[in-house]
């Protein structure tokens, strides 16, 4: 760990040296500009801005602003491009010390996706925690898997797995209730607490998936101690009729995904657009290098609708989506007691004969998630905007298992209904200061049937927040504060006698961030934040046998909220040949909730089980993520991503369990020349080096961490011209050498190997039916 930090610091210093050495030009002319969307007049953020003569590249910030400094007097050709917009060249002459320009870019369907190249991008000068995104080809490839699995390719992001179909994102070592997921602006409310409960979201709705690393509670709400994941659909179109067809296949489970999206903005209604989207997914048993995994099939169907109508000042938006899945669970994992788990660990291969099938038998999970959202926004003028968002979510989860149950129904059933409303006031105090303030509320009702593991509950929260941003010459500052109150009432029924317990939690979150432009190619930012998380229902009340993990878990009603103090800093550089970002963080969590393993086994009629008690300690997580890309030759890019962290239980002086091991991902990419029929053809070879988890605690784990592993992968993609449209296609070979391995964060590593070689292929066909 220390060696890694040391290397990172050395690396950072050497970047700085290079950067300063570069800064020889003695000119001090500046070009500052603002980018706008031609049709809406809204600022365009994250658009690429390229100054041809000096080969300088930058991105517009969230207000559409960009700037180039240290220029000499003269004329410059600046090229702008953005996803879903046309490319635009503008000749700007820098005659005065400061030249200000405003550029509006029209949208253009034929250029859609043109400039989406790879994984990450970051807006300039955002005084937030470090963030990274999945877009373009990488997102298209991820869409053929699941949300959690796709996000694993981002630096600092990992996944806690329960087998091949269930991935829960882990950001900088934290997961589950400590991460918030926003689906189209709505905080996902399902049964997030379970280690085998994956996010109920269809990645196919997304145009970009952004991961914000660090405690960003002020903006997104309490509980975000680890980070936030934003699922962002593409903006609705403003004219024409467009469709997009997406098809993909994966050989590892003989699975396929197909999705259709239709966007329509009728010419006879002003400023009105609608979208319908749907997807179907099916997969069979996964294949590992040595055997199939029985009962790991999946079936999923999802759809969504969106509509938006804008008036002069008023705009109305509605959104509805539904997610439905039936996910098989590897039968060998749902076995029973400690004797069975030990037997499974001791045998190298599953005990039952394994073969391929699309059949899903017990045990399996059946999940529905429904989201409805309405938003009204009103422009008050002078940069002020008032908006009200109302949402409803319904989540149904049924778990079917092979244990004896009285009926053929699910052994366990959860239904949770959540209503939220948020009133936000976007305002501008001066040209330099602007911000958001608002009020949000939630009402949630959960019911449980079958084997009672958590009780019924009603949860009400209210939050109040205020954020201001200050823009200076080279600094951008942001400060925010938030106060949340939560009322939780749980209900119990023992032999007809109903009792309840009420809890109230309230606390504040605060953050201060700054971003400093060292030059127009380099920036440094930092975030200091405080966030809190109230104990979740399972941590307070769970009582009983968790079959999936063969353990007895006992909640503790006396738990107090966790409070996190997070410091993170990042440095990034973007030059013509080099792009790098280093992010270092420390997260101190007071009253960190974890499962404390009790020494004695608990005796039940099902046999003996290890027993765990929810407890609290103080924890410290320290780590860093580095991502570097270097263009060796014009056509060859070398890249490397490194993520490493250490988690310490400070009270007991021991390491925290299930912290991701160090990961290094080098890659080499070859960019072919564009031809008349092919655009951006690229091939890359990538490696994943996963180190063995060192100093993992042995208490609470049935077997020691598995060996480290190295995987090789191949990825190729291009756009192909077909008539008037460009079809995007990509291919990815995972685990090319068919390596046998098991991952530390996969709870099913006790039972089986990870999947073997698999070929993923996708095509995306956009069609413009009416311009």
């Amino acid at each position: 760990m220390y060696r890694f930090l040391y290397l990172s610091v050395v690396c950072l210093l050497s970047f700085c040296n290079m950067a300063w050495a570069q800064k020889t030009a003695g000119c001090s002319f500046e070009i500052n500009g603002t980018l706008l969307d031609h049709s809406t007049g809204e600022p365009l953020s994250g658009a690429s801005v390229y100054l041809q003569e000096r080969r300088l590249h930058t991105l517009s910030d969230e207000d559409g602003n960009f700037s180039f400094r240290n220029l000499c007097k003269g004329s410059y050709l600046i090229t702008f491009f953005n996803i879903g917009s046309a490319t635009k060249d503008t000749l700007v002459s820098a005659e005065q010390r400061k030249t200000n320009i405003t550029v509006s870019i029209p949208r253009d369907s034929s250029h859609q996706d043109e400039l989406v190249v790879t994984g990450e991008r970051h807006d300039t000068l955002t005084p937030h925690a470090s963030h990274t995104s999945l877009t373009g080809i990488n997102l298209d490839l991820a869409k053929s898997t699941s949300l959690g699995e796709g996000l694993k390719s981002l630096p600092g992001v990992y996944a806690q797995q329960s087998g091949v179909n269930t991935y829960k994102p882990v950001i900088q070592g934290l997961s589950g209730n400590r991460i918030l997921i926003f689906n189209n602006g709505v905080r996902q409310e399902g049964q997030q607490w379970g280690t085998d409960h994956a996010p109920e979201i269809d990645p196919l709705v997304a145009d970009e998936i952004q991961v914000i690393k660090g405690a960003e509670s002020v903006r997104y709400g309490s509980d975000a101690l680890g980070g936030v994941i934003l699922i962002k659909p593409a903006p609705l179109i403003d004219k024409g009729l467009k469709t997009e067809l997406y098809l993909s296949g994966n050989s590892v489970n003989r699975g396929g995904v197909s999705s259709v999206k239709v966007d329509y903005a009728p010419s006879f209604i002003r400023k009105f657009s609608v979208r319908a989207q749907g997807s179907i997914k099916q997969g069979g048993n996964y294949k590992t290098p040595r055997y199939y995994l029985n009962n790991t099939g999946i079936r999923e169907y999802n759809f969504s609708f969106a509509a938006k109508k804008s008036f002069h000042r008023l705009s109305l938006e509605v959104y509805y989506s539904q997610f439905n899945t039936k996910t098989g669970i590897f039968a060998g994992s749902h076995i029973g007691n400690l004797t069975d788990v030990k037997r499974a660990i001791e045998t190298d291969e599953p005990l039952t004969p394994q073969s391929f099938s699309y059949q899903i038998g017990k045990p399996y999970q059946y999940i529905e998630h429904e989201l409805a959202k309405g938003e009204v926004a009103y422009k008050l003028g002078r940069g002020q905007r008032l908006s009200l968002e109302v949402t409803r979510q319904y989540n149904y989860r049924a778990e079917y298992d092979n244990h004896r149950t009285a009926s053929s129904g699910p052994g366990l059933e959860f239904k949770i209904t959540t209503y939220t409303s948020t009133l936000n006031w976007k305002h501008r105090i001066s040209s330099r200061i602007k911000g958001d303030a608002g009020l949000s509320g939630m009402n949630q009702e959960n019911t449980v049937a079958g084997r009672i593991f958590i009780p019924n509950f009603i949860n009400n929260t209210v939050g109040l927040y205020w954020i201001e941003k200050l823009k200076l010459e080279r600094w951008n500052w942001e400060a925010g504060i938030r106060y949340d109150v939560r009322n939780l009432k749980a209900y119990f029924n023992k032999s007809g006698i109903i009792t309840d317990s009420s809890y109230q939690y309230h606390n504040y979150s605060a953050s201060l961030g700054g971003a400093y432009a060292i030059s127009n190619q380099q920036q440094w930012n930092f975030l200091l934040s405080r966030a809190f998380r109230s104990p979740a229902v399972n941590e307070l009340f769970s009582r009983g046998l968790h079959h999936g993990v063969a353990a007895i878990e006992n909640g503790d009603g006396d738990l107090v909220p966790e409070v996190a103090y997070n410091v993170s800093t990042s440095y990034c550089i973007e030059k013509s040949k080099l792009r790098a970002e280093l992010n270092l963080y420390a997260n101190y969590i007071e009253n960190y909730v974890y499962l404390y393993p009790l020494q004695e086994l608990e005796l039940t009629v099902y046999g003996a089980f290890p027993s765990f008690q929810y407890s609290q300690t103080n924890a410290l997580l320290v780590g860093g993520d580095l991502s570097v890309r270097y263009d060796v030759l014009e056509k060859i890019q070398l890249a490397c991503k490194v993520s490493s962290l250490s988690g310490e239980d400070l009270n007991n002086g021991s390491p925290l369990i299930y912290m991701p091991p160090t990961r290094i991902e080098p890659s080499v990419t070859y960019l072919f020349k564009n031809t008349r029929l092919l655009r951006q053809p690229t091939v890359s070879l990538n490696g994943t080096l996963m180190f063995k988890k060192q100093n993992a605690p042995s208490d609470g784990d049935y077997s020691p961490p598995p060996q480290g592993y190295a995987l090789l992968g191949l990825q190729a993609s291009t756009q192909v011209k077909a008539g008037a449209t460009w079809i995007t296609t990509g291919l990815k070979v995972n685990n090319m050498l068919n390596t046998v391995y098991r991952d530390y964060l996969d709870r099913f590593r006790y039972y089986h190997d990870a999947p073997g070689i698999g070929v993923q292929l996708f095509v995306k066909i956009p069609l413009t039916l009416i311009h």
Binding site: I269, L351, T352, N402, H403, R404, A449, I452, Y491, V605
Partner: protein, 188 residues
């Protein structure tokens, strides 16, 4: 025109929300925790020549967690042949539910396995078989040898779809464990 669009938008939203899936259960009136099926009791009914000798029980009347189970020690005479009937009950229900009956009905999905510890002079022979002639274990014969002591472990496996259909031993490695209890045993 505007009004039509506005009202149709509002209407469609209302329709969407009202067509939503609903939860008809009410949080303040939770399901009785005892509704789920438990196995609280495993009794060994020991007979000799059809005459009841004794019963030995494992009882965990409040299920997993809470009170620790009570386990009676098994005492048998040396050099004898007994029959043993297993009775599985859910005593949290009123009337008490007989789970042995359900196992009997689904005997091609279940099998009991018996493990006297090493040095215990006790042999178990199956007396009941499913339709495929594979043992079940609700009825067994216990043959004792010379005086000795040790433990006696009883395991019930639920093996839907995977219980062997041939052979006379079954396969304990398959399926899920429904019961695993261990008694102390003395042969005197």
């Amino acid at each position: 025109m505007k009004k039509i669009i506005l009202s149709s938008l509002i209407l469609s939203f209302v329709l969407l929300v009202s067509s939503c899936k609903r939860n008809d259960d009410d949080a303040p009136t939770p399901q009785d925790q005892n509704e789920e099926e438990l196995i609280t009791t495993v009794s060994l009914i020991i007979k000799e020549n059809g005459v009841l000798v004794d019963t030995f029980s494992f009882k965990d009347s409040d299920g997993v967690g809470g009170e620790a189970p009570t386990i009676e020690d098994i005492t048998l005479d040396a050099n004898k042949t007994y029959t043993c009937t297993l009775l599985l009950l859910d005593e949290t229900k009123n009337p008490v539910e007989n789970i042995s009956e359900e196992i009997e009905e689904e005997n091609d999905e279940h099998q009991f396995f018996f493990h006297p510890s090493a040095g215990t002079n006790l042999t178990v022979n199956y007396l009941d078989f499913d339709d495929n002639n594979v043992p079940v274990g609700l009825e067994t014969e216990l043959v004792t040898g010379a005086a000795s002591s040790g433990t006696f472990r009883v395991v019930l496996k639920h093996q839907p779809g995977v219980k062997p259909t041939t052979g006379d031993t079954g396969n304990e490695a398959l399926g899920e464990t429904d019961v695993e209890v261990e008694f102390d045993v003395t042969i005197q």
